[in-house]
């Protein structure tokens, strides 16, 4: 007994006291599904690449992005960004400008010449892709990365499909399209241009291809019967846009009327203005809020002096004059005629009433079904004919570039599984990251960074790009506005706020709970800014 007076026990540390035994619930780190990722038709991991970009690791961010989407510079211009509509920050102040950051990363990659290596071993399988639009290019890219040989065939002289022949250059500069397509071709994709596939059966029968993906798009203007005099000048919007791209712009006259309310109608009217039309008028039978065209495009069109005639149909077209009937919406929102007519002077009428797919190439293919003018496919994007897949505008879908890119990725995964005689099983989706689980107190206040736009009057007469990119500073700022919903971003809050020192900081922005001491108070869950920790009951 060599202890001091009145001392009978050795000094001990409270570490011997495992207070974790008090716990009835335990905090668990989770990766929830952020609303942006959930909304992306191309399946991008947006939260993750914004995280990479936040500390200026643009190349890493771009590589994360390229896991899902081989055309970020294109997407950063023409995507209608459903991610931003879904963004939780939109309910706090303003949505993160995801599209603008994507464009910055895409442009940066082109500037720096970043490429994607093919590391997978060659499988010896050969896939034919018909159509060099977004779906075909996306599929070819993903198939190459999986080690398959890919040949793309396209009827046009240049690749890109609607990205080149449908979307005007002031929205999507051709250098950008070329740069991103060249990067895919450099991965060893074989491209055959000016090689229209009139029927797919010889290729299916040839045995040269182990699988075939058709992604020919929808390029025929939808016919609508407009009673017209012999001298009336009536054109199709898709043809106008295509001919402009070929350098063979049609004569449209001084006053051009575009009939339709979709994005193609807006593109055509804005193109007509750039070709020298003094007036471009869009005639649409419903109202602006029912217009299928994207609002940002409508705004840009109005800035350029395009006029819009709502609630109007064209009942007769004659040389120099159109007869317009005023419409009204019935209770169900369907437009009906009022019997009131007026004349509208017009040198030409361009119909932009939607497109249809030319499906003559699948005539006689056994097992393949056509429903409502598009090719039926199963959830693997495969038609009723084994080994023949289809995607993009020629299958039932929302017809946007982003959806096409998503189709390409999905088709590539299933084709890969088909070639390996397996089934592709997508991983289980994480639960949604909801705004209610976030602690938005912690996010610093930050206004949305706006991309500069050319002034309206300066746009006519030129096909220069209207919407400009973000600078490195503004792109970094915008990336840092991301709240990282449902996913840890390494803020140390859990590590700091634990009264029991039961959170272990592992480094690299990762943490672990020390369940020996965690009492299950839940402060870390409550104070996690991004809502990436969940409380789960302890099971006896």
């Amino acid at each position: 007994m060599d202890k001091p007076f009145a001392i009978t026990l050795d000094v001990g540390s409270s570490l011997a006291n495992h207070t974790g035994a008090w716990r009835v619930e335990r905090p668990v780190y989770r990766d929830f599904l952020p609303p942006c990722n959930k909304a992306c038709p191309a399946g991008e991991n947006i939260q993750r690449w914004l995280y990479d970009a936040e500390d200026g690791s643009y190349e890493q961010a771009w590589r994360t992005l390229m896991e899902d989407n081989p055309l970020p510079a294109v997407m950063g211009r023409v995507c209608y960004h459903p991610c931003q509509t879904a963004c939780n920050r939109g309910q706090v102040d303003e949505a993160v400008g995801i599209n603008a950051v994507e464009r910055f990363l895409g442009d940066e990659a082109i500037r720096q010449g970043w490429t994607v290596p093919v590391t997978a071993a060659a499988t010896g399988k050969h896939v034919l892709v018909v159509g060099a639009g977004p779906t075909g290019l996306s599929a070819a890219y993903h198939l190459r990365r999986l080690g398959h040989a890919v040949t793309i065939r396209d009827a046009a002289d240049k690749p890109g499909g609607m990205m080149r022949y449908g979307i005007p250059a002031y929205r999507l500069p051709r250098e950008t399209v070329d740069a991103e397509i060249d990067r895919i071709l450099d991965m060893g994709v074989r491209m055959e241009l000016g090689a229209e596939v009139r029927n797919i059966r010889p290729d299916l029968a040839s045995g040269r291809y182990d699988a075939v993906l058709m992604a020919i798009g929808a390029q025929l203007g939808k016919r609508a019967w407009v009673p017209a005099g012999e001298a009336a000048r009536i054109l199709e919007a898709v043809d106008v846009l295509h001919d402009v791209e070929e350098g063979d712009a049609p004569q449209l006259g001084r006053r051009v009327v575009v009939y339709g309310g979709g994005n193609t109608a807006i593109d055509t009217a804005r193109t007509a203005k750039r070709l020298g039309a003094e007036e471009a008028i869009i005639v649409y039978r419903r109202t602006r809020d029912r217009m299928p065209a994207h609002d940002s495009e409508v705004i840009e069109a109005l800035e350029e002096g395009i006029t819009m005639k709502w609630l109007s149909t064209i009942s007769y077209a004659d040389a120099g004059t159109l007869t317009i009937e005023r419409m009204e919406l019935d209770e169900t929102g369907f437009p009906r005629g009022t019997g009131e007519f007026e004349d509208l002077a017009a040198d030409s009428l361009v119909l932009a009433l939607g497109q249809e797919a030319d499906l003559s190439l699948v005539e006689g293919v056994e097992g393949l079904e056509i429903v409502d003018g598009v090719v039926a496919v199963d959830e693997r994007m495969m038609t009723g004919h084994p080994g023949l897949f289809a995607g993009g505008d020629m299958v039932p879908s929302e017809r946007t570039v982003t959806v096409g890119i998503g189709h390409g990725k999905r088709a590539a995964r299933h084709i890969d599984a088909y070639l390996r005689s397996t089934l592709y099983q997508p991983g289980a989706k994480a639960p949604d990251a909801e705004l209610g689980a976030l602690n938005t107190w912690y996010y610093a206040d930050a206004p949305h960074q706006v991309r500069p736009r050319l002034e309206g009057p300066r746009r006519t007469g030129t096909f220069d790009e209207v919407v400009q990119g973000l600078s490195a500073e503004t792109a970094l700022f915008e990336a840092r506005r991301c709240m990282s919903c449902g996913n840890c971003f390494g803020c140390d809050n859990c590590f700091g706020v634990c009264p029991d020192n039961a959170v272990i900081k592992l480094g690299d922005g990762r943490y672990a709970i020390d369940y020996d001491y965690c009492k299950g108070c839940g402060i870390c869950v409550e104070e996690c800014p991004s809502g990436a920790i969940e409380m789960v009951p302890e099971m006896p």
Partner: protein, 395 residues
């Protein structure tokens, strides 16, 4: 590659750490090598604000002095839960004598160190009972002699360790075991109690400050600043008590934040008796948001709502806001690293965002609070636009 550095860091200095900041800008608590002055295994309740506050304070003091600190503890929760003989959670030199004499013991320790020519600093600490009531004579003496001690009071508004009795720091209307929610004026009476930081200021000691466990950057900066002074210094820290306040253990930090944001707990610092800095309210909330999360105020809301008492508490908050200028432009919103800091109501939402989904923070670890009774913030908003149709349909 940025030509001008972007001064916006996602969570700025609101969160504990931030991977985008330089290491010199980071908090002590974000450092895996922090002292952990009060380590794991202590017997404080789930979600104890005092345990959190004590670690924040002493880790900061250790960091700024290079680990040369001796602490003296008054009797109270902090002493009892950290050091049941022969076990201790302290990883700093630590001394406990009696309930009421911690300031005097600290004075003695400091005198001994001075006599030995040591530069070790002294930090004394206690709860509001040991500080505002029982140890007050010793504390006032330490102040008037201007002894070189930093005294930290962790204020949870009552004697929680012995069964939640009222103290001189219990706020009006709060229920404790000695101020039951019965009679004409239930809970603690109005017009009693002490404002210890203002009394400390009246001694005109070098430094007096208040802080909360909801604002780490501010708290650590105040400890560091206190250690730059010689003489008596006083730091009064708001530490919510889930047990005594009847709040969810997960809400400790949130309640401290609401106390400051409502104006009920003014956060400021003063030198030689004059207020020098005031922490500005960033998102002002009515006191009700603070009161509702605590069962000690439940009698204000049920069985009938006591609007008169709620209005009196709001008036107390408003008086603080006016007295300290908590909404003035001269007040500082945060220790900003250059990023924009906007104060005022959140642009489109209530703050904090009401919980409304399946993985909300736990409340089951605390008393049965219905956090879900608030309406869904999305109800009544226009629906989000669906996907934009492509070009296939226009006529």
């Amino acid at each position: 590659m940025a030509a001008t550095p972007v001064k916006f860091y996602q969570v700025g200095s609101f969160a504990v750490g931030n991977r985008l900041l330089e290491s010199g800008q980071l908090s002590v608590q974000s450092d895996p090598g922090r002292t952990n002055a009060l380590t794991s295994g202590h017997r404080a309740c789930q979600g104890c604000g005092e345990a959190l506050g004590a670690r924040y304070a002493l880790d900061a003091a250790m960091a700024v002095t290079g680990g040369r600190v001796i602490t003296v503890n008054a009797t109270g929760c902090l002493e009892v839960f950290s050091t049941p003989y022969p076990e201790t959670s302290w990883r700093v030199p630590w001394l406990h004598s009696l309930f009421g004499n911690a300031p005097a013991v600290a004075t003695g320790v400091q005198a001994a160190l001075r006599a030995k020519g040591s530069d070790v600093r002294v930090v004394a600490q206690g709860g509001d009972g040991g500080t505002v009531d029982i140890g007050f004579a010793c504390l006032s003496g330490m102040f008037e002699r201007n002894d070189d001690v930093l005294y930290i009071c962790y204020d949870n508004g009552g004697y929680m360790n012995t069964g939640v009795q009222r103290s001189g720091a219990t706020p009006p209307a709060a229920r404790t075991s000695t101020t039951q929610a019965v009679g004409e004026h239930p809970g603690n009476v109005f017009g009693q109690g002490k404002d210890a930081p203002r009394i400390a200021m009246a001694h005109e000691i070098p430094y007096v400050a208040t802080a909360t466990v909801a604002d780490l950057a501010d708290f650590e900066a105040k400890v560091a600043k206190a250690m730059t002074f010689r003489g008596a210094r006083y730091l009064h820290v708001m530490v919510p008590c889930p047990l005594g306040w009847g709040s969810a253990s997960s809400h400790t930090v949130r309640i401290a934040r609401l106390a400051a944001e409502s104006g009920l707990f003014p956060v400021f610092e003063a030198e030689h008796g004059e207020v020098t800095h005031v922490r500005r309210i960033r998102r002002q909330v009515p006191v009700e948001e603070y009161l509702r999360l605590q069962r000690r105020y439940a009698h204000l809301f049920s069985p009938v709502r006591d609007d008169v008492t709620i209005a009196r508490l709001q008036a107390a908050a408003d008086r603080n806001i006016a007295r300290y200028g908590l909404l003035e432009d001269t007040a500082v919103a945060e220790l900003s690293y250059g990023e924009p800091v906007v104060t005022g109501a959140a642009p489109t939402l209530d703050f904090p965002v009401p919980a409304r989904d399946h993985h909300v923070p736990s409340t089951s670890a605390g008393p049965g609070l219905d956090l879900h009774e608030r309406p869904d913030p999305l109800i009544g908003r226009p629906p989000l636009p669906g996907p934009t149709p492509g070009d296939q349909e226009t006529i």
